[in-house]
């Protein structure tokens, strides 16, 4: 098991680097640059800008420089930058994980922007997923236990509605009801992680579609497990229904939910952009989309690197989770 985890952890590094490289190529492929917005710049100015950002060097050199910065390289003697991880071994100074300065938000490094925005998106994403788990597993389990009854049909229909409702429709409708008519929650504000009343609507909006998916997955998984032999054995032993469901059935029935969780969590972190826009929250999704529009290459690369590592890590966690829930799965 330990060897498996270690092996997978090591694979994450090259995979993330490849993803970053592909992204870099894509940004370079796209026409337009960060400095050409409305008006044509004089040729001399353009040449100066290109020189300052090293765009006049051969592509391969630019690529290697970018790669050196975001991974690790030795620090030159005259360098004053303090971003990223800095350390020295003997007399050599090293610098790691420096994504450079944003090209559009002047004077801010990508690392700073990420430090500021990631907690917002993470708070939203994690709270929304926890809520979705609570609602989805409960609804799915009840639907499975009462298969083919009105409860089953209605909860599945509601969940399908949750999947079909775009969150930029659901969000404003919630705002309309709870902020503009009932005056319960503010329509848009960010009061930090502890601003509970500001978090309610965004978290609800974000969690709806995940709760719906989880409910459907739980129902499917539970239906399969509930008719297996070991559940019959558990019932025959005279265990209470509560015990049978929570201790025995859920463990196997949640497998599909677990495999959904890896990609879903990663997607949640990136996909909060709509909710951030609707509720005016200073999160990472918005910054990411803006960086693509602005051709703000360092910022785009920073977010992509962060997201790809998170995605790959979550997928690893999911595989480990399997082994804990299903004793038959062994990784050697």
């Amino acid at each position: 098991m330990l060897r498996f985890i270690l092996k997978r952890l090591l694979i994450i590094i090259p995979m993330a680097l490849i993803v970053v490289s592909v992204t870099w190529a894509l940004v370079r492929f796209a026409p337009g640059t960060f400095y050409s917005s409305e008006k044509q710049l004089p040729a001399a100015v353009e040449a100066n800008i290109r020189k300052k950002y090293g765009l006049d060097k051969p592509l391969i050199e630019q690529y290697l420089m970018m790669m050196g910065n975001i991974t690790c390289r030795t620090k030159a003697a005259d360098e004053t930058t303090t971003t990223g991880l800095q350390f020295s071994i003997g007399s050599a100074n090293f610098k790691c994980f420096d994504f450079g300065d944003s090209l559009k938000y002047e004077g801010q490094s990508v690392n700073e922007i990420l430090w500021r925005t990631v907690p917002v998106s993470a708070t939203l994403g994690i709270l929304a997923y926890l809520l979705a788990l609570a609602i989805g597993i409960t609804a799915g389990t009840i639907a499975a236990l009462r298969q083919n009854t009105a409860i089953d049909y209605s909860s599945m229909a509601i969940s399908m509605l949750g999947i079909s409702m775009p969150n930029f429709v659901l969000g404003p409708i919630l705002v309309l009801i709870f902020s503009l008519y009932l005056y319960w929650f503010p329509p848009a504000r960010w009061d930090g992680v502890l601003g509970v009343s500001n978090l309610v609507l965004p978290v609800l909006t974000l969690s709806a579609v995940y709760a719906a998916y989880i409910a459907r997955l739980t129902r499917a998984g539970m239906l399969e497990v509930l008719r297996s032999d070991y559940i019959r054995t558990a019932r025959a032993k005279g265990l209470s229904e509560w015990h049978v469901v929570t201790r025995h059935a859920l463990r196997g029935g949640l497998m599909p939910v677990i495999s959904f969780t890896g990609p879903a969590l990663a997607q949640l972190l990136a996909g909060t952009v709509v909710v951030e826009k609707i509720f005016a929250l200073p999160g990472m999704g918005n910054v990411f989309i803006q960086s693509i529009f602005n051709r703000d290459e360092p910022l785009t690369l920073g977010v992509v690197a962060f997201l790809s590592i998170i995605t790959l890590l979550f997928n690893l966690l999911v595989d480990i989770g399997y082994a804990f829930l299903d004793p038959r799965i062994r990784y050697d």
Partner: protein, 318 residues
């Protein structure tokens, strides 16, 4: 007395599936709604124009009418900021949204099925490389790919066949952007399809009929596309039905970000995105397109679910 022996009439897989589908009330409901929507967006715009005089881009000549009115007899869904009829715009938006869904799905189908089939049949090293490419594409944000495709091929840079299509429909730059969007969305949504087809082909390729084909000297491309791919059709249809709503959602998301369909054209996503700005004062601008879209996606999803149960009883999660 022996009963008269009548030959038993066999039922085909498709007939069987159709019967099972008709038993599923929600799927039938979905089918009816989808058919209704398709008919409505096809014949709706001329009817609205004929009865109210409003096309999707008609701005009233009278300046007093250039503002947002609530739903009334003349405008069942109200009007938008410029006094345009929301119903006419929702119908046009439906045309574009449904076309996005269908054409992008066909594109993703062609790419995904051939990619998955080739990887699955050839196996070994080639399969390994092809599937790692898919894994990587999952990790690269699709929105980046869409933006690059859209900006690389916009305007006069559009590939020849898109320019041809635009001419065919007699439209300008706006139309070219829409056609481009169809293909860009199709090109980022084939990944799951290719994985599914690959799995299916891998389990089929060791069966006797493939061996027989090989023994009689059928060429590899012919084995893949004539013998193997038709056998995956049921599964492919199911996933295609489920791809349509997901592509439509993606288009709506892109339109919400201002990347998708541009004015004067509209899609359900772009209409909803416009409506959000005025949610507090003119809620009908959001609610009608939003609810129409949700209802259509809801029906498509139920139809897809029903088809899965009907066409693939093994996959059916009871």
């Amino acid at each position: 007395m022996a009963e008269e022996l009548r030959p038993v009439k066999g039922t085909s897989l498709w007939k069987d599936a159709w019967k099972r589908l008709l038993k599923n009330k929600l799927a039938v409901f979905g089918m009816i709604v989808v058919c209704f929507m398709v008919i409505a967006v096809l014949i709706g715009p001329p009817i609205v124009e004929w009865s109210t005089g409003f096309a999707y881009d008609t701005i009233p000549a009278n300046g007093d009418l250039v503002r947002s009115f609530p739903p009334s007899m003349l405008h069942p869904m109200g009007t938008d900021d410029q006094g345009r009829d929301v119903l006419a715009r929702v119908l046009l938006g439906g045309r574009i949204s449904l076309m996005v869904g269908i054409i992008s799905t066909i594109v993703s189908l062609i790419v995904g099925v051939s990619y998955g089939a080739i990887a699955g049949y050839l196996g070994k090293g080639i399969d390994n490389v092809m599937m790692r490419i898919v894994d990587m594409m999952y990790a690269v944000p699709y929105i980046l790919i869409v933006i690059v495709l859209l900006s690389l091929f916009s305007g006069n840079n559009a590939p020849g066949f898109i320019q041809y299509l635009v001419k065919l429909f007699g439209g300008g730059a706006g139309l070219s952007q829409i056609f481009l969007l169809f293909f860009a969305l199709g090109l980022v949504s084939w990944l799951t399809m290719s994985r599914i087809v690959r799995g299916q082909i891998m389990s089929l390729k060791n069966q006797e009929f493939v061996m027989a084909a090989k023994a009689t000297g059928v060429s590899t491309p012919k084995i893949i596309f004539k013998h193997l791919v038709p056998n995956t059709l049921g599964l492919v249809i199911v996933y295609a039905t489920l791809t349509v709503p997901s592509v439509m959602l993606t288009e709506a998301f892109l339109s919400f970000l201002g990347l998708g369909v541009q004015a004067p054209f509209a899609s359900w996503g772009s209409l909803a995105a416009d409506g959000i700005k005025n949610i507090a004062i003119y809620p009908w601008q959001l609610i009608f397109p939003g609810v129409t879209m949700a209802l259509t996606l809801f029906s498509l999803n139920f139809l897809g679910d029903g088809l899965r149960d009907a066409l693939d009883p093994q996959m059916r999660k009871v």
